[in-house]
Subunit: 241 residues, 2 copies
């Protein structure tokens, strides 16, 4: 039982037994990966996609001086580079942040799924498009928001996603990122991240210490950060707000 209670950003009960079994069968042996390890490099031709069982990973692109821009942060239950299946060649790097456990899924086995299971195929397609929807919100965040809002917005996204897989209770959640990592995600320098976290703390919205975030006032944080979880397509899940 590799695939977690929630899958591809959806509640698993949208998957029937058969489809779930097919996925389980497609996945290879789970293996551990150390923290801060490069898994796939830009330009690599990939023949596996990675299902993240446990830990935090990220995707990023480097600028000319080697400065990273994170493209996505991945949490347990994410199909990290499923898009590598149709694209074949990756346009960015993939690395672990913490120690992780991952399950490779050979593309050959995905071929059989696509040939035989149109509904599961649609779900897989959907899951890659969820990623694209998150990309769009990152574009919005980086293009239109000022520093405090960028950080708040990022924290809102991660919290909402962790809540779906049961890793946030809506108030506290683990976030094993350094301030430098946050900077690479939000297009800010580590120093400014530090200042903006202080700002969020002083506004009574968020506290962050030793890899754990506490949301002190979610409605206010959503308002400040102009965060609207529509793009996560959580539907009912988000009725509670």
């Amino acid at each position: 039982m590799i695939f977690s209670k929630f899958l591809l950003g959806r509640r698993r009960d949208q998957l029937d037994e058969d489809d779930l079994a097919a996925l389980e069968q497609a996945a290879g042996e789970v293996r551990p990966v150390p923290p801060r390890t490069l898994l796939v490099e830009k330009g690599d031709v990939v023949s596996n996609s990675t299902y993240l069982v446990d830990g935090f990973m990220c995707r990023y692109m480097d600028d000319r001086q080697g400065q990273r821009q994170l493209i996505a942060v991945h949490i347990p239950g994410d199909f990290v580079d499923l898009h590598g299946y149709p694209l074949k060649k990756l346009d960015h790097d993939i690395a672990t942040i913490t120690a992780c456990r991952i399950a490779p899924v050979p593309h050959g086995r995905l071929d059989s799924i696509v040939a035989q299971r149109p509904r599961l195929t649609r779900l897989l397609w959907f899951s890659t498009l969820l990623d694209a929807a998150m990309h769009r919100d990152w574009i919005f965040r980086l293009g239109r928001l000022e520093a405090v809002k960028k950080l708040g917005h990022f924290l809102c996204e991660v919290e909402a996603r962790l809540r779906v897989v049961g890793l946030s209770d809506g108030i506290r959640f683990p976030l094993p990122l350094t301030q430098a990592d946050l900077g690479e995600a939000c297009g800010l320098t580590p120093v400014h991240v530090n200042r903006m976290l202080r700002d969020l703390r002083e506004r009574g919205l968020v506290r962050m210490q030793s890899g754990e975030v506490t949301i002190l006032d979610r409605p206010a944080l959503y308002r400040l950060s102009e965060f609207d979880p529509t793009y996560l397509y959580l539907d009912d899940f988000n009725a509670e707000r």
Copy 2:
């Protein structure tokens, strides 16, 4: 014959006759749309996807004060919101920039394609992932590049894409965007866009006037803007540089 010589960002000869015919059949009547017209609004449930036959369109999200952040710019031959097919509900607005001609493609007809044509389905999936790859480069651009590079990078992308569909000769191409539009794409104010265009002009890299761009020194522009067309998956097409 609606679908242009190049399709979904690919040379059409990757499509066989049958698949192409199926697509042609799926498309509804081509209709004109005036410039600066909102076609689909965030949150709308869509039952058609839009194939852009002619003109320029864009997708965008608004911040709280109604300021736009463009998410994508679309050129003739793009399947503008194919991702609306699996997602059903849109997370952003879609509007024309210039007068356009568009062909709606009902999702019901896409269902038949998915059921009957696995190869074409894969190509459609691929095309939505090309979009996602462009999103990633927008994230990089907005997060890591300074203003001149942002603009240069954007112009490089549009030029490369227009070249694929025969609308750029590699030096001059039409770009009917105002400086305010460019600002909305690059996360800059119109005033600063103006200054950075002057900068690009004075460096002898790019000239832009009355809706037409001239690339004066492409290699230098690529270098300055840290532009690497890998993410467009143009393959052979880009061997020429």
